[in-house]
Structure formats: structure tokens, C-alpha cells
Symmetry: C2
Subunit: 479 residues, 2 copies
């Protein structure tokens, strides 16, 4: 047992080295294993289980907003990728190329999709004819490939999983409404399921998606103060429609170009969950997204009646929750540490004395707090605890993030803040990319977004060049 | 409307040209669209919806039998693919090769997975240590790529979707039990959800999976009499374990090689559903797998109260069923034909006179039969009808298949039967591959399986060479 115990305890403390802590959690919580292809991960049951929960919940939200799932091929012919100029420039340098099928060289090489705008557009050009066909609201859940130089589990991998929504609308107004609706859906999902507060806003031109007219984003703050772009929603205008010939006859029987959107979230969200909620004992999962919500540990279960009672309690709990009961012959201490490492929100311990007194001991993963629960009407008490954990995780993350937003108006303070205070900086900007570039070069911080909810004070000056500011911007180092 | 009506009616009659009928259904039921890469299909909402239902139901069955989902990378390095000799020989000629990442040539080329045994095995070699770690029961839902020369929607495509289960066991006995358990799961799924009777048996050595010791199969008969291999389950023995070094310490602390299985079903099943149940009006979906179970068509819905009542009926039905209500301004006749084409099991028509009499008209997709239903207690009546449709589809397919199984004992009859009677042939075989080869060359029929439930009569002779027979075998032309 000694060896097993040690394994659980061997992660780097979070505040000592956040990067190593992160990698330790990812491995020790058995979320991933490395494959022999750099940057291509194996998602183990604990890791894939989180993604399955994300898919389940978010897919329900997408269907509730009238979206339909489809599946596009994984290959894009080079000539198709090249159809929209900005798009190909953004993606071509980092795609994987298939050149041979069996022994034969292909007539045209194919890239493995880095994103599927071009495939959707080619299809839309065929199926869109009349205004009656619109809107078309499609989504797919797939993996995509980007040949990144440096990689990190969940945050930057060569293959990653995501959903990509691609929609077609008659008018700019309809398309903009969809673009912002999906940002709302992502916000709702991140805040209410992942317990992760986000800042909503628009990306600067420098940071927007290759081929988009406007990109909107939700930005979350990790425990180390860095930003993680957690979801984006793009308004394309009719740029892709013109490149691909997506036209419809309007009510007056005149041909019009369609307006489009795309939007996506990916397995990066798993990285965000780890870095927002995790602690020195490992992963901490919000109850609403945890694949396993309760670890039920029978204590001294060789004693008569314990295992039977545990089975009974498990069956009762499974009416409302996902439960893992561990009656293996490992030591309870090992089990406690292991399921803490895996981030299971609630542990229930059930031993002979608990059974005698008609109770069990609940231990919260978020606070470590122990609460004795009555076995009678157990599920309602458990639900209350899980709700409290979910709320506490959100409140804690929100408080920490709000503590670490620094508004600055002069460049010296800006540079000094980036250097010494992890977090976000809110500062006015002149809209000139030269200032963004300078800030990045001087400090490593990038513009995260132009937030929806901050207006510029009259007469505000750009924090970098001192000229008239046009927008307030959140800045920060980012993953 | 004329144009729309015509579109629906334009499919080739099934008995005139089964191949063209199939392609027509696939396109007109809006299951797929072609992409610009040959053999790589776009699965449209109607097609992907069926696969989602298959995934949902079968995934539940896999979880109920203790399997866990994971995700392996899509790329396999060439050297890894080559690790098991038979396996690489079977797959290398038909894989797609990635040679470049961005502008750089890769040090080692990567194939896009044609199947993932090698990836699972490499992972298992790392995570399997003790007999306590076993069994490991993993599955994944992904797409795989095989660079086929000739392709056909769902039946043979270069990219297709499937689940692949890969399990590790301590003993041959455990692994064999798993291999057959999964064949049972597939049988249950095909017969009870897809309403498709299957014949269960073992593949001959010639037809088994590359690298397997034994391959088991379920074989279904399509409407044209041809066979479709609908699911396979493989017993690997310790062949892969030896090639990849998958060893565990047993209870005596001695190192043993593990025993493995793999098993899968794919989007071919959608092809099977089409070819088993479809008719001259298009697709016919079994209610238990139909993404939309009911098409609700309000009639004369500009009249007061019709649309309100239809909404009310829809809300009532949606408590138990998936419902599409079409209140577009298209003609009812067009809607009837379109939703028949799409295979929706039940149509409900609701007009002013129906409402007056507190009823609605139900039309069965399988038989065309019309039944008047009371609006009171509607869901129970609908459930009864859907159950009847599900049962009828199965019974009809079973009866037709059983009519078309021909037992023959001499070669002349064999050849004559293959030529003139679509269906399966049951005939004794000597276990010599030379006879299989000759039969294929002479007739185009292949061995489908050595069935579990047919024993050899004493003294039976091989239908081909006349030597002593070892097994009864089902033969047939196959997709």
C-alpha cells in the first residue's frame, strides 16, 4: 500500500510550480496518457468521461436552440481550403497533409480538417436555394488537427475534440443575433455547469478568426492569473458566401448572398476546469459536470452487514446521482486520496458505527468539510451538498478573479502590473494594432477582449501610446 | 408544388434496380450528400440522426456491460502499425498516409487509423501490471479511414463511423467469454432495435480479421438476398500481447501474457436498415431507432383552432415520443410523400373534422394502413402502434430471410442456386480454403459463417470437393 499511497501524494504543490502541478494532475487523475505521436493524447476514461458530460449537457442546449448535428468528412482538398483567402492564410501553415492512399500518391493532397468552414460552405452552396431554406443551423462534434510546435495536454494539442457550429442566415441581422446567442449559450454553460465565471467581449482585429468579420469570446481566469480563451463565436458576414457561391432567392425572387456564423468550444474546457478549480490534492470537478459525483467507500466492510448496507445506499443514490463504490481491498486512506485526486465532488464513508446510528459521513471535495448525513432521506441531503459545492466553486473562482482585475491608465503601471500581479488588466486602447504589438513584445500580455460591459470614460487615452482611446480592453497573459 | 412533388416520386422501383433504388433512397431521404473527396460522405441531419440513436442505445448497452469509453489519437506511426505482422499485412495497403505537418516533412509518416488495435495495445502495455488491473474493458466511438477503390454510401466508404471495443483479460477463458458476450450484445441490438434478424457464427480462417485467432460475426440478409456482415467480435489470444509486451503479474507473482478481444459495428448498419426495411416509397425506420418517430401534419390549419389543437397534441406526444410537426405552407400530399421517403414510422393527420370528433388519423409507414385514434389517451394508442410496427418489420424480414435459405449438398445445385435464387445457401464444407476460393471464383459467393446452431449430419461431404465435411457453412453473395 505504501507505494500506492506515495503515488497519490506525489504531485507538485500548485503554488510552487503551476505548470508542473497541472501536468501532474492531468496524469495522476488518469485523465490522459501520452501516445507515441507528439501532441496527440489518449483520453482515458476519467478524461473522456468529462468530455462526454460536456457533450451531453451542451448538446442538449444546442438542440434546445434548434441546432441539428451533422458530420462532415475529416479531409479537405487543398484547392477547397484555398477558396477563402484569409482563411487559408490562417490555417495552411499548421495543417497535416495526406499525400498517399495505400501505395498510390493522391492526385491532390488533402489536409486533415483544422476546422470545417470550407466543407460546410461547399455543402451549403448545394443545399441553399430559397429564403425558405434558411436559417440552417448545423453543428458537429469531431476532432480536428493543427500541427502545433509546442503542445500541452488539453490546452494545445495537435489533435483535439470540439464542437463546431456553422449556420447560414438570410440577413446580417439574423446572423449577428445567432452569433451573440451562441456566446450566451457558452456563457450559461461555463458559468452554470463548469462553475467558471467568464468575461464576454469582442476580439480585436488582430485576434479574430481567420476569415471572420467579428469574433466574440468568453475569457476565463485560471488560478495562476492567466487567461484562457474558452469559447468563440464568429460572424462571417457574406465573405464565405461570396467565396463559395452560397446564394438564395429572396421573397422577390432576387438572388442574395447568405450571411454566416461559426462557433466552437473544445477540450480546452477540461484544461480550464483543472486550472480554475484544482488544488494541491488534485482535480476538483463541479458536481454538474463530474462523470462520477459520489465516491462511496464502505469502511471495515468485512464486518457483517456493511457491504449489504453499502449496496443498498448505492442503489438509493443511483436514482439521482452517478456513484462509484469502491469495495476493493485497498486501504481506505488510499481510496480517499485517489478519489480526491480524481476530483469526485463528494465522498461518502459508511462503516459499522455509521450504520448503527443510521448515518454516513460526507466529505466535500471543495472544502474538505465533513458532514454527518442521516441515511433516511439521504438523496435530498446529498443534492443540497452538491448544490452547495457547485455554488461555492463558482463563488470562489469569481471572487478570486475579481480581486485580480487591475484597471490602469499609464504604461508604466501597465508593465509593472503584468510583471508583478497575475491577473487581468483593464486599460483603454486606441484601436491601433501597433500598440497591441508593442504591449505583447514588452510584456507578453495580449488583448483578451473588448468587453460588453465596460464603457470608456470621456477623454480616456490609450494606455500604450497616449492617443485618444476608442475602447476599454482586457489584457493578460494567456494560454 | 409540382416540382417538389415530382422530386419525391422520382426514385427507382426497388425490384427494377436495387442498386439505383438504394442510392436514390440515400439521397432523397436526405441521409447523405457527397463531398468533393471520393468516398467521404457528408452525413446530413437525417443520416447522422440515425447514427446518434444507434450510439445512444448501443452505448447504453456497452455501459451496462461495464465498458468505459476512451479516445485514442487518429494517427498511428508507421512503425507502430507494423508491430503485429498479420495486422499490418491486412491494413497497410489501404491506409491514408500523412507525410507533412504544415510545410515540414515528418520524420516518420503517420497513417490515419484504419482500426486502433495498435494504439490500444501500446497503451495497455503501459497500464497493465497486475491481475488486479484486469479486465480492462474499453470502447471508443470514432471515424476510421480505409482507402477503398470502389465506394458506396454507408456500405463501403473511405471514412466511416464506428465503435471499436478493445479489451484485455487475464485468461483465454475470460477473453472468449467477452468475445461471445459482445456478439450477444450485437445480436440483441440488431434484432430488438433495428428489427433485423441475424445469423450468428464464426468466420472461416480466410475471412477472419487480420491478427485475430477467431472472428465471430452476425450476418443479415438484405432485401435483394445478399448478405451484409453487420458486426464482428474477435478473439486475439495473446498474439497482440506478445507483439506489444502486454504482461501482468498473476496471483503467484509470475508474469503472464494477457488475452485480448476487439469488436465493432459501424455506419454500415444504416445501409442494412435501408436495405432490409426500405420500399418503393423510400426509407422505413424501425420506431426504436428512428430519430423522429411521428410526423404530425395539421390539415387545413388556417381554420380556427386547428393549429392550437395540433400544438397541444404535439406537446402531449412529446412526453413519450420524438415528433416533427410540419405546419409549413407546402401541400399535405408533398409532406406525406416526403416523410414517407424519410422513413418516419407513423404519420398523424389532424384536421377540423378530426378535431370535431376528438380523433386523428394515424398512417403506418410499414403497411400504409390507416387507423383512426381517439385523442383521449392518445399516447398509449400510439405506443401500441409503434410496437406493432417494430414487430411487423422484424417478422417480415425474418420470414423473407427464412424463405430464402437453401440447403444444398451437391456442387451443381450450389452453382445453380447462387445463380438463380437470391439468398443464403447452407452447405457442408471440408475446411479447406481451396474450396472457398473455388466457390468464390465460380459463383461470386463467399463463406458468411459457420453457424452456431447447425450441426453437420453424419457422413456429410463438402459441397465443393466431395471430401469429408467438417462444418456446415452459410454462403452467399455479400456487400
Amino acid at each position: 500500500m505504501g507505494k500506492e499511497k506515495k503515488r497519490v501524494e506525489s504531485i507538485t504543490p500548485r503554488d510552487e510550480d503551476f505548470g508542473r502541478w497541472y501536468t501532474d494532475v492531468v496524469i495522476q487523475a488518469a485523465l490522459v496518457d501520452y501516445s507515441s505521436v507528439k501532441g496527440c493524447l489518449i483520453l482515458r476514461p476519467n478524461g473522456w468521461g468529462i468530455w462526454e458530460r460536456i457533450q451531453h449537457v451542451l448538446d442538449g442546449m444546442l438542440k434546445a436552440t434548434s441546432h441539428q448535428n451533422v458530420a462532415m468528412p475529416m479531409f479537405i482538398p487543398e484547392s477547397l481550403l484555398e477558396r477563402e483567402k484569409d482563411h487559408v492564410e490562417g490555417f495552411a501553415p499548421e495543417v497535416a497533409w495526406v499525400t498517399h492512399g495505400g501505395d498510390e500518391e493522391l492526385e491532390e493532397r488533402l489536409c486533415v480538417r483544422p476546422t470545417s468552414e470550407t466543407l460546410f460552405c461547399e455543402h451549403y452552396a448545394k443545399i441553399v436555394q430559397s429564403y425558405r431554406d434558411l436559417p440552417i443551423l448545423y453543428n458537429q462534434w469531431v476532432s480536428v488537427v493543427r500541427w502545433e510546435k509546442s503542445t500541452r495536454p488539453f490546452l494545445r494539442t495537435r489533435e483535439f475534440y470540439w464542437q463546431e457550429g456553422h449556420t447560414v442566415h438570410a440577413t446580417e441581422e439574423d446572423a449577428m443575433e445567432e452569433t451573440l446567442r451562441m456566446l450566451d449559450v457558452y456563457t450559461d454553460f461555463c458559468e452554470n455547469y463548469l462553475a467558471m465565471p467568464v468575461i464576454r467581449g469582442q476580439k480585436t482585429d488582430k485576434e479574430k478568426f481567420a476569415g471572420a468579420q467579428k469574433t466574440y469570446t468568453i475569457e476565463a481566469q485560471m488560478h495562476d492569473g492567466k487567461a484562457l480563451q474558452s469559447g468563440t463565436s464568429h460572424y462571417f458576414g457574406d465573405g464565405f458566401a461570396r467565396a463559395f457561391g452560397i446564394q438564395y432567392s429572396d421573397k422577390n425572387n432576387e438572388l442574395q448572398f447568405a450571411h454566416q456564423t461559426s462557433w466552437g468550444v473544445s477540450t480546452r474546457l477540461i484544461g480550464a476546469i483543472i486550472m480554475v478549480h484544482g488544488d494541491d490534492s488534485g482535480l476538483v470537478l463541479p458536481p454538474k459536470i463530474a462523470p462520477t459525483q459520489i465516491a462511496l467507500i464502505p469502511i471495515a466492510f468485512h464486518k457483517e452487514g456493511v457491504l449489504d448496507k453499502a449496496m443498498e445506499v448505492k442503489a438509493q443514490l443511483e436514482k439521482d446521482f452517478t456513484v462509484l463504490m469502491d469495495d476493493s481491498d485497498k486501504m481506505p486512506g488510499w481510496k480517499f486520496a485517489q478519489y480526491e485526486m480524481e476530483g469526485i465532488p463528494l465522498r461518502l464513508e459508511l462503516g459499522p458505527r455509521d450504520i448503527e446510528s443510521g448515518s454516513c459521513m460526507a466529505v466535500r471535495r471543495d472544502t474538505g468539510e465533513k458532514v454527518s448525513l442521516k441515511l433516511e432521506n439521504l438523496n435530498a441531503q446529498v443534492q443540497e451538498l452538491l448544490d452547495a459545492i457547485q455554488q461555492n466553486l463558482y463563488d470562489r473562482a469569481l471572487a478570486l478573479r475579481n480581486e485580480r482585475i487591475y484597471e490602469v491608465h499609464d504604461y508604466e503601471s501597465f508593465v509593472e502590473t503584468v510583471e508583478n500581479k497575475p491577473g487581468f488588466i483593464l486599460a483603454p486602447w486606441c484601436d491601433d494594432q501597433a500598440c497591441e504589438d508593442k504591449i505583447k513584445e514588452d510584456t507578453g500580455a495580449t488583448s483578451r477582449c473588448i468587453p460588453f460591459d465596460k464603457t470608456l470614460e470621456e477623454g480616456a487615452k490609450c494606455v500604450c501610446c497616449g492617443k485618444e482611446a476608442k475602447h476599454m480592453v482586457y489584457w493578460g497573459k494567456a494560454y
